[in-house]
């Protein structure tokens, strides 16, 4: 199980618990604003863009090659950008903080 904190555009902080599946699914199930996941989680739309907190980046890991390319379609991309449909929930990412991209 992992606790994941989302910071949305209005500054609201929400901490959710998940056991499996993708971070995008967890966010959509709980109505986190700004994470749409239009393609359903197949890395095709870049509408689940998050910024990983700097100190959590190592645990979350970097974007895969396809994901990094797809991120080029998103706005406001930084070295801490990930598509949350490509982040699997596991104990290894317990406690991470994600800021939803604009």
């Amino acid at each position: 199980m992992a606790k994941i904190t989302f910071i949305t555009n209005d500054g609201e902080k929400t901490t959710l618990e998940g056991t499996s599946g993708s971070v995008m699914s967890l966010a959509v199930e709980n109505g986190i604003s700004g994470i749409d996941g239009d393609c359903g989680g197949v890395c095709s739309c870049a509408t689940c863009h998050v910024h990983v907190a700097e100190e959590d980046m190592e645990r979350v890991g970097e974007a895969s090659e396809i994901e990094a390319v797809m991120l080029e379609l998103a706005d406001d991309v930084t070295e801490f950008s990930r598509l949350s449909c490509q982040i699997e929930i596991s104990e290894g990412i317990d406690g991470i903080v994600l800021t939803v991209a604009e």
């Binding site: 699914s25 959509v28 199930e29 709980n30 109505g31 604003s33 749409d36 239009d38 393609c39 359903g40 989680g41 197949v42 890395c43 095709s44 739309c45 396809i66 390319v69 797809m70 080029e72 379609l73």
Partner: protein, 415 residues
């Protein structure tokens, strides 16, 4: 003038799939304070449709549907879902809709997101065929899974070699069925891609042991109660325990038409997704709308269009200025191949193939004259992304550089 912020006003949405659901949430985001009531004949919590023919089908029955939004999200945004409830009529003069049980619901604004339904062609015997299904809803997939359950080696005939047919073929193959695809045209995907892409997918399916047969016009289906015999115009016969029909869709516009809403290849809407009735909007697959990029009216069957039009309609309903200005995009997954498409290729006079150095990694670039129309990218997200950027910026492309895979895609615009 209407005040969209009045809390007692009602926005009713007919259809709760990608378009309807996204519109409901976008309405809240744009500041709609009134009621939102959304209706759909499908009893399931609204779900993502694209995985139905892909991951959802191939997972057998172990994978749940992927909901578009959670039940909690509808509650949080005060969006009322009336699932399993069909709408029978729209009365624009009285500004109300009639539910199938005869009840009426008044609206101030109405959004029609009725989508489309699969075409079941008039083939003799199709009505009495055993285990024959289209694939558009969760219920269809559940029927297909039930029919295929009792063991591998089932004979499946898929009528129609379009995306739905081919994705379904790949998924059922993964489940161990013997799969044949019968395509009426001389090549699969004839309506939507260039011949080279048809050839690629034909070969991909053949390599994966799916039998793809073209020039096969099905003329009759005979059932003995357990199995069907599918007969083609050329006299060939195929045995089928299960038949999937994927020959296209028909837009659900009859109710709107009866209500006096203008129809032209779909519900005719303006740039803000509004119909000829100022309080009625239409979004998604059921609409015939103007695409500013291609400077013509189009009808699209896609998640992208559903979501983008939903947002435009929501903004317009809330009195904001919004204009539809999107470049269409699509995707398909078959076996281990990821196809991503951006733009509309219709009317092209030249296709440039760009092969990368990795196996099964290439892209097709469709042009009319010097203008890029669209890009189909196979296992090549980079071509998809750069294609999108070039389409958006309308930058002229150097075709010679494009053909040369040693030139980085970034560098292919004319200087």
């Amino acid at each position: 003038m209407d005040d969209p912020m009045k809390s007692q006003e009602v926005c009713a949405i007919i259809g709760a799939s990608h378009a309807g659901v996204n519109c409901a949430f976008a309405l809240r985001k744009e500041g709609w304070k009134g009621k939102i009531i959304m209706y759909d004949g499908d009893p399931e919590l609204p779900y993502h449709r694209p995985p139905l023919s892909k991951a959802y089908l191939s997972a057998g029955d172990i994978m749940g549907l992927t909901p578009l939004k959670s039940e909690a999200a509808y509650l949080k945004e005060d969006i009322v879902l009336r699932l399993g409830t069909r709408i029978n009529a729209i009365h624009p003069k009285r500004k109300e809709i009639i539910l199938e049980n005869g009840d009426s619901q008044a609206y101030h604004k109405l959004v029609i997101a009725t989508g489309a339904r699969p075409i079941i062609p008039r083939i003799p015997g199709i009505e009495t065929a055993t285990h024959l299904y289209p694939l558009r809803t969760a219920a269809h997939v559940n029927c297909i899974q039930e029919a295929i359950k009792s063991g591998a080696g089932k004979e499946v005939v898929i009528i129609g070699g379009g995306y739905i047919g081919l994705e379904t073929a790949a998924s059922l193959k993964k489940l161990g069925a013997n799969v044949k695809v019968l395509e009426r045209e001389e090549r699969i995907l004839a309506r939507v891609t260039a011949p080279v892409m048809s050839d690629f997918f034909h070969q991909l399916h053949t390599e994966n042991d799916v039998e793809v047969l073209t020039g096969k016009n099905v003329v009759s289906i005979e059932s003995n109660g357990n199995q069907n015999t599918v007969t083609c115009e050329d006299g060939s016969h195929y045995i089928a325990d299960l038949i999937i029909v994927g020959v296209g869709i028909k837009v659900n516009v009859e109710m709107a038409e009866k209500a006096g809403i203008k129809i032209k290849n779909g519900i005719l809407v303006d740039n803000s997704a509004r119909t000829n009735d100022k309080d009625i909007y239409a979004i998604g697959d059921c609409t015939y709308h103007f695409n500013t990029y291609y400077d013509r009216f189009v009808r699209l069957e896609s998640v992208q269009n559903a979501v983008d039009q939903a947002k435009i309609a929501a903004a317009a309903i809330c009195g904001k200025e919004a204009g539809y200005n999107a470049i269409p995009w699509f995707w398909s997954d078959q076996f281990d191949v990821k196809l991503q498409m951006v733009g509309l290729s219709e009317g092209y006079d030249e296709v440039i193939i760009r092969k990368e150095n990795t196996d099964n990694c290439f892209s097709l670039w469709y042009f009319i004259g010097d203008d890029l129309l669209s890009v189909d990218a196979v296992n090549n997200a980079k071509a998809y992304v750069w294609g999108t950027k070039f389409l958006k910026s309308r930058v002229p492309i150097d075709k010679e550089k494009l053909k040369d895979s040693t030139v980085d895609l970034k560098a292919i615009p004319k200087v």
